[in-house]
Symmetry: C2
Subunit: 164 residues, 2 copies
Amino acid sequence: MRDIARAMEMEAASLYNHIDSKQSILNALLMDIANRFTVGMQQIQSSSLTALEQLEALIDQHVDMTVGYTDAISLVPSEWIHLEEPHLKEFVTLRKNYEDAFKAVILAAIEEGSIAEVDVDVALFSTLSTLRWLYSWYTKQGIKVELLKKELKRTLLQGLISSL
Amino acid sequence: MRDIARAMEMEAASLYNHIDSKQSILNALLMDIANRFTVGMQQIQSSSLTALEQLEALIDQHVDMTVGYTDAISLVPSEWIHLEEPHLKEFVTLRKNYEDAFKAVILAAIEEGSIAEVDVDVALFSTLSTLRWLYSWYTKQGIKVELLKKELKRTLLQGLISSL
DNA sequence: ACAAAAAACTAACAGTTGTTAGTTTTGGTC
DNA sequence: GACCAAAACTAACAACTGTTAGTTTTTTGT
């Protein structure tokens, strides 16, 4: 809290005119991110895109979120564990729902024949690992957003796309 | 330190009959992992395997390390940042060398024509993201090691393997 | 059985943590 | 210019952190 205060050029105690607690900051940041991903997933689900196009849209969404909310998104891989109840349960539920929906899109893509019959759980884990860690990597690179989206879709999907 | 002591059924102060400091524990764990990966990379590099086979051997090595040293390996993605100098520099150097060697294998695989002409940096980042986060995922699954290796190689490489 | 070494213990330290209470300053409205 | 709320301040709290000093207990080798 004293680090945050110094960055805002005030005393630590003054922060409490604006926030309830340190916990509430973590919660606000994580919930904002979780809600944005949830809304984005709903929009993609209710679209008329093919499953493969939905997969591409999901990758694009992760890139946009990473570029637009880099700092908050850096909390997602590890820091969510420090949430306290009931916020922890709430966050884990949102994340589980998102993963289930993501998995359903991969399954639909297999069924429509646009990607190979891979192990869905391994594919989901592998894809999300890359997308969740993007924030730590893309800042070091001088890569343009559109190129990043293109190369990421190529790397993540080309492997999945059936070579039949 | 008091948590560690409780797990070892002793007082926190008693730990210092066995270790120098909390820092030294982090350093010992991370250096052991870093050295094992470095040695493994050297063995693979000096083998007579093709570049593609070397890539497969690297994936197998990550799986073996993840299963064999799950706890210590969980420190690698995020906790290394808390190392103090000179250990921090030492660790970062070992990691950079490993990444460079990994990248060289991907490049060699492209040159020998066994994988597609992908963006090497994106492919390296994507592959290492998955392999580094494996520890957090595989314990939740009841998956057998050999199956995990097979499916992981399929997911990570099939995407790379040229469909010509 | 005894001396020496190893490893446990109690007690306490100095520094850091998130936070509260009470007070003073700032900035906008009548 | 007075008034009031918002937001800064100072001072301090209780809990927790890694670690040390000094002491007692346990283990080991002769």
